[in-house]
């Protein structure tokens, strides 16, 4: 639902066509134009709002409620429904679910964002290499990507996670006074390294179309080196699809973490995540508050990201009608 009133229609057109040098001096970059479209995209703004809410929840929450609350357990008050003292109730060993969704949320969001960074980094690198070098490199990399794509990601992630989460080899670590399970770091790499394939395909296809452009030929003929052509001419053209897949990548990383956690095979104790709280709550169906709140936060986050991602796609590609 992008409002497509820029460039040739409406007010901005006057400015583009204006002959007054003072007005034209600045020019409007493609990126700035896209961002302006994004601001008018109601669903994207709604998505940003949702995300801000979730981020503020985990940030302000951790300022108000100390971490010790999320780990303090008292079996005598287990599975208590929401009350003034515990707004989200308590879990099976009497921990406050509100505090656990705050600290678990921090970990879930951290995993989502860092796994996305790895996914984008690897995907972009592979896509650039395959598209720019072509030939055997392209063939091998793309067959490898295809091979990885034809196996369900959850299966791949499960196996990889098991291989690299031996607690004797990767012990818990302490960071800023909090103890974390090393599986938290492992899962970031596992999710990142099992989800780069789509990004690499997108980047590769952009590279293939850009490579044939005259300005790349021009750059090549004045003696620019390959890496310069890649960084200055090819990469900027890939930015739009990369930003869109990065946004949506955070959502799928958070979801995958949640599924792994739900199966009880994700991040291990003592580190809570929205996913592994769900995994514990799975057997206590009657205590609805136990699973409802972490699932709600997963949903809000994923929904916010999907709205934003869709808005970004519309903003970068004004032709798309979605």
């Amino acid at each position: 639902m992008a409002t497509r009133t820029d460039s040739l229609q409406g007010k901005p057109a006057e400015r583009v066509l204006s002959l007054d040098p003072k007005q034209n001096i600045k020019g409007v970059s493609n990126f700035a134009r896209s961002m302006r479209r994004l601001r008018k995209h109601r669903m994207a703004i709604f998505g940003i709002g949702l995300l801000l809410f979730v981020i503020l929840y985990v940030v302000i929450g951790s300022l108000v409620i100390p971490e010790s609350v999320s780990t303090y357990n008292d079996p005598r008050r287990k599975l208590q429904p929401p009350s003034a003292e515990h707004p989200f109730g308590t879990d099976v060993i009497g921990r406050d679910i509100l505090a656990r969704t705050i600290y678990g949320g921090q970990v879930s969001l951290f995993i989502g964002v860092t796994a996305m960074l790895i996914q984008i980094l690897v995907g972009t690198a592979v896509g650039l290499l395959a598209g720019y070098l072509g030939g055997v490199v392209d063939f091998l990399l793309m067959r490898f990507a295809e091979a990885m794509l034809s196996i369900p990601q959850l299966f791949l992630a499960l196996v990889a996670l098991r291989i690299f989460s031996d607690p004797t080899q990767f012990p818990d670590f302490t960071f800023m006074g909090r103890r974390f399970s090393s599986t938290m770091i492992v899962i970031v790499f596992v999710i990142g390294l099992t989800s780069w394939m789509r990004v690499s395909r997108i980047v590769r296809s952009v590279v293939l179309s850009v490579r044939e452009q005259e300005y790349v030929m021009a750059a090549y003929s004045i003696g620019a080196r390959s890496w310069r052509i890649i960084l200055r001419h090819v990469l900027p053209n890939c930015m739009a699809p990369i930003i869109v897949s990065a946004t949506l990548g955070v959502a799928s990383a958070i979801l995958l973490e949640a599924y792994l956690g739900f199966l009880g095979l994700g991040v291990r104790a003592p580190t809570p995540t929205w996913g592994n709280i769900m995994g514990e709550a799975n057997s206590y169906l009657d205590s609805w508050f136990y699973w409802f709140f972490p699932a709600l936060f997963i949903m809000l986050t994923v929904m916010g990201i999907n709205f934003l991602g869709d808005g970004l796609r519309d903003a970068f590609d004004p032709r798309s009608l979605k």
């Binding site: 669903m43 067959r143 196996i151 196996v159 959502a251 699973w291 997963i298 994923v302």
Partner: protein, 341 residues
Amino acid sequence: MTRYVVQRALQSIPLLLIISFILFNFTNALGDPMAVYAESRNRPSARDREIIMRRLGLDRPILEQYLIWLIGNDWMPPIDVYGDGSRLERGTRRGVLRGDLGISFVTRRPSWTRIEERLPWTLILMVPSYVLTVGLAIAIGIFSAVRQYSFWDNLITSLSFFFYSMPIFFVALLTIYIFAVQFKRWGLEPIKWGGTGDGTLGSLLQHMVLPVFCLVAIQLAGYVRFVRSSMLEVLNQDYIRTARAKGLAESQVVRRHAFKNAALPLVTLIGLDLPFLLAGAVVTERIFAWPGMGRLFIESFERADVPVMMAILMVLSVAVVVFQLLTDIVYTWLDPRIRYS
């Protein structure tokens, strides 16, 4: 065309080899498969362990193990079972290429029989929910697209966004909580869930209601969005205006001119998604205690039952590759504008 198909089929052979090699290395790194034996009732002694290792070929380097998995060891030099040359046994494995997917470490029966037991259950669950999903998605997607930006279109778009972002366990737990737990409290007949029922058709159908509902609710959103956007794209084409201009009824325009063309990308999507139905739905099967392929994978994963895991993954990969090829062929048949050379 024939040449193109043959070429594609030949290309998929190295692809499957790469897939199987990656997977073999992966699954074999899972941990000590002998741990399963160590847990069994008649716990083997250290010497027996060694013998079992040799019989299974687990003492060999990974590349050789892969070769045995691929083409069997019945033609290789006999196995020195005791390690001192006093007893030589011929290998009995024929390898995947000759249809032998190996013996499960856990049940000691062929991996394929494990899959044969579970696959029907997965299909019973996945096929109806997939058919429902696609059918409903086409109906809702078209309904929404021809009323673009109307109240109904906005409602459907928002709802599909909502369900698209729902993790499936949330939908599943909510529906169980409402239709089973709360219904009982309200004095209504709760819907039965968990497992596949007592063997009668009625009970099976009742146990299918909730999981099918969840699977449809989750998958539907994505498909509705897809149908809607490809319909919108087609509805803006010149030939639709022409069809309207020559006085065709709107229903004719939508059904015969627009939908037929909008269905083309949908065919691709379905073709690429179909093979993954075989994988079952890991989370859904877990919640509803459904004995399908997803559960089988998790079970074999938890016990490091490498042959069964490899069998499942390879069946899937072959299905994915075959369906990709089929999709391409169907596509050329449906859309005469496309010609592969």
